[in-house]
Symmetry: C2
Subunit: 215 residues, 2 copies
Amino acid sequence: MARNTKSAAKETRRRILDAAERLFFANGVAQTSLEQIAEEAGVTRGAIYWHFADRVALFRAMLEDVRLPQEDMVEQAAACGNPDPLGLLERVACDSLATLAADEQRQRVYAILLFRCEYLGEMADVLQRQQDADTAMQANLARIFTMARDDGALVPQWSPDVAARVFALMMRGLWVDWLRYGRSFDLVAHGAACVEQLFRSFRRAEPAAAPVEAG
Amino acid sequence: MARNTKSAAKETRRRILDAAERLFFANGVAQTSLEQIAEEAGVTRGAIYWHFADRVALFRAMLEDVRLPQEDMVEQAAACGNPDPLGLLERVACDSLATLAADEQRQRVYAILLFRCEYLGEMADVLQRQQDADTAMQANLARIFTMARDDGALVPQWSPDVAARVFALMMRGLWVDWLRYGRSFDLVAHGAACVEQLFRSFRRAEPAAAPVEAG
DNA sequence: CGATATACATACATCGGTGTATGTAAAGAG
DNA sequence: CTCTTTACATACACCGATGTATGTATATCG
């Protein structure tokens, strides 16, 4: 068939990636054939094999387009010399929820990573990327909580490491639950309530106000 | 071939289930053929098709043997009329960590559910079971935290629902992280530190002691 | 304005997996 | 002691998916 111009080829590549994303999300990675992806993208398998070595390469390319929520938080929280570390983190946390809630591509890709693929053999390093992101987030959070403790902002009942861990576990739980169970609750509102009350327990007690209810 | 006695047939069934569990865990559900399972179990595919209708039925049967950590916690925490609900929960939480850490079958099956299968089509109700377990756990925890609030055991900074949610998210995060990342930390010790400090924030402040470090 | 590389489509060979049909020897019922 | 049923093993037919080889029309470059 007619050879496409270079920009048209780029668009073909995009269409393949988008089609793969939709089908991986809808049918799972293992249950999606290159034939189906080609059809969804309006090309043939020849085009896919031209742009990508095989299924795994296609899958990897799809992932490279998206940042994981963990990576997002690390980047956002990098601003360290802040006078109010806990306040910064609290805002970053809520931002991360809003970012995920607003970006459907991110939702699909993260959901694929969480529930629609099996991490084995050639996919092992995909898991590794998530572990690296988690580790980086954990280290970064621990650093910030340590700053908060040194500033006297963190109550002594919480050790910086454990506070960082519980916070990270809660955030990931919120992301995962929301995606796993069909986005059946208001991620931003409900998540904000969790974030706020947890951070309230991190801080020295203020004149007590009534707790915020979940969304 | 020679027909086995009824008890021998039961054992064959067990061997098939065990083989499936090991291979699903090692290679993923989609990447494991019935041929492989048969070989691992020392039988032929004929035996598998005799005992199970197909792969999905085999997978389901494998799951039925095991209780999920969530289901475990719900059962453990059912004892409600306790004078110290928060103390009860704290113990139940640590028990659940110890139970998971001690039972390799449980670890494999839960890991399969989390990272080694794709929830689609005929597998949708498998996800449903997890969602039901999570929902039940959530409801149960909320009830207990409400009791704690009514007893004055829960500080007013935490609403019972949000406290239950954060606690549940943390617990699931601990289970998942431990399994996902190759059990690379001491689940019981590290988990206990998280549980303890979170529950300390739930309770009215005692004469402050130094926080416990993570394991 | 050829020559060549590009961007695919088409065609083919292969293979592993599934489901089912059939064989069969022993267990259990009467 | 037979007859039937059980508990498998064996054999077969049938895709569907993969990978590769090949065709081919057109950009693009010198």
